[in-house]
Amino acid sequence: MSLGPHADFIVAAYAVALAVVIGLVAWVVLDYSEQRRVLGDLEERGARRRSRRQ
Amino acid sequence: MKLVADTIACTRGGREVFAGLSFSVAAGEALLVTGRNGAGKSSLLRAIAGLVRLTAGTLALEPDGDRSLAEQVHYLGHHDAVKPALSVGENLQFWTAYLGGNGDTDDALAAVGLDAIGHLPAGTLSAGQKRRLSIARLVAAKRPVWLLDEPTASLDAPAQSDLAGIMDRHLHGGGIVIAATHADIGLKSARSLRLGAA
């Protein structure tokens, strides 16, 4: 497969698309673990407070 | 240490709010500023905090230190100076760092009963909780003169007694409390200054 005289532009286009996809995946994955972490933290605090009150 | 006001006067919007006012508050003393609406209670507190200029007279904390009066007061106004986007802890840490405190912010949060929710965004707090967060900054950063404008507004009964305890401790430590209020805020042995009585 030869990309002809404009190979740089083709490679750059695929690189940008790849970067965008990686960015989106990273956003989704990191956001998920962050929400999970905060949720777990909140649940733990809630449980601790309930047990202290008893 | 003594806060002395000597024949001070203040004009706002062309109207004389108060004039020829003299009083002094010594360390460990509390002064309740009372009077009808518009008598100048808030203006007096703002003047002591250096937020409003006096048109006559002098205000000083004796003996003179190298720090100005404004740097030695805590001003608790009608608004709570709480940022909803920051967490409860972050709000207090910022004001403590800014106002020159080195005190532990956890203790201050505990004093106002917010220690369990220091991690929550301040936007989730109720009005009374925001008020308590605002009061926590007085505890966290040590300053001798407290200027409290209607401090019990939107506080429930337990929080009001917490506040009374906090003010008591401050007075016992040689602090000064000047509060403008209509209500009984639970200060024992407070002197009273009635504005606009004449």
């Binding site: 002809g4 989704v28 929400q35 | 989730t124």
Partner: protein
């Protein structure tokens, strides 16, 4: 499972948990096939190898528009039926749509440079994609600015519906204005003009992009539901403190 069951966020999370691994696998396979076909596609007699950029550019453009269409449906769901998942669907789609529009613009500009000798021309279709991008960013800004998520969702829904008028303009702008950009060449009366050897990899890539979009959207919706749970729990803890 009836559709009404999906309205329940917990059921929805359950569904996402079961479906997501399959979707990820399908996306990876679709991209493997699509990219292989794209690599082996013959060069265009006019554009040479740069036609390979089209396999990214066109699917990204299609998905960017499809995403706005989906957000419009979600906006109706928010405004008319007050459906609990509609807000979530709309909000989760917006960043993905913006990223796809961005990809479309950048790949288009990298395609334009060797073809037209410049990265950008203010041709009608390019410009309307740029406007679509601005609309996406506006919706995102609205979501980020709103302190109350529910009010933000309703405001964004109005903006999305108004912006939906932009979609047909993009589609038909080629007919309205005659410019440097190529004329409409795939969905025109009388059947496609492009050679099947290029059309097949194009549709394979479009399918891969569609699967990618669905996967990301479901995952983002799950994150959004969790974010709302966090907020609810924070409210509850503040109340009981």
């Amino acid at each position: 499972m009836a559709l009404i069951d999906l309205a329940n966020p917990t059921r929805f999370l359950d569904l996402v948990r079961r479906v997501l691994p399959w979707l990820i696998a399908a996306t990876v396979i679709a991209f493997a096939i699509g990219l292989t076909m794209a690599m082996n596609a013959p060069d265009d007699y006019q554009q040479g190898a740069t036609v390979k950029i089209m396999f990214l550019h066109v699917p990204a453009a299609w998905l960017a528009m499809l995403c706005w269409a989906l957000m419009s449906v979600a906006a109706l769901g928010t405004l008319v039926w007050r459906h609990p998942l509609a807000d979530v669907a709309g909000k989760a789609a917006a960043p993905i749509g913006a990223a796809l529009t961005f990809t479309c613009l950048v790949t288009g500009s990298l395609w334009g440079r060797p073809m037209w000798g410049t990265y950008w021309v203010w041709d009608a279709r390019l410009t309307s994609v740029l406007v679509l991008f601005l609309l996406y960013l506006g919706v995102l800004a609205l979501y980020w600015t709103a302190e109350d998520p529910n009010r933000g969702a309703r405001a964004a829904a109005v903006l999305v519906l108004v912006g939906a008028i932009n979609l047909p303009i993009i589609k038909f702008s080629v007919d309205w204005w005659n410019t440097l950009h190529q004329g409409e060449s795939i969905f025109r009366a009388g059947g496609p003009e492009i050679d099947p050897t290029i059309l097949r990899p194009l549709f394979a890539m479009a399918l891969a992009f569609l699967l990618l979009f669905v996967t990301l959207h479901l995952a983002a919706m799950r994150n959004e539901i969790l974010r709302r749970r966090v907020r609810t729990m924070q409210m509850m803890q503040a109340q009981t403190a």
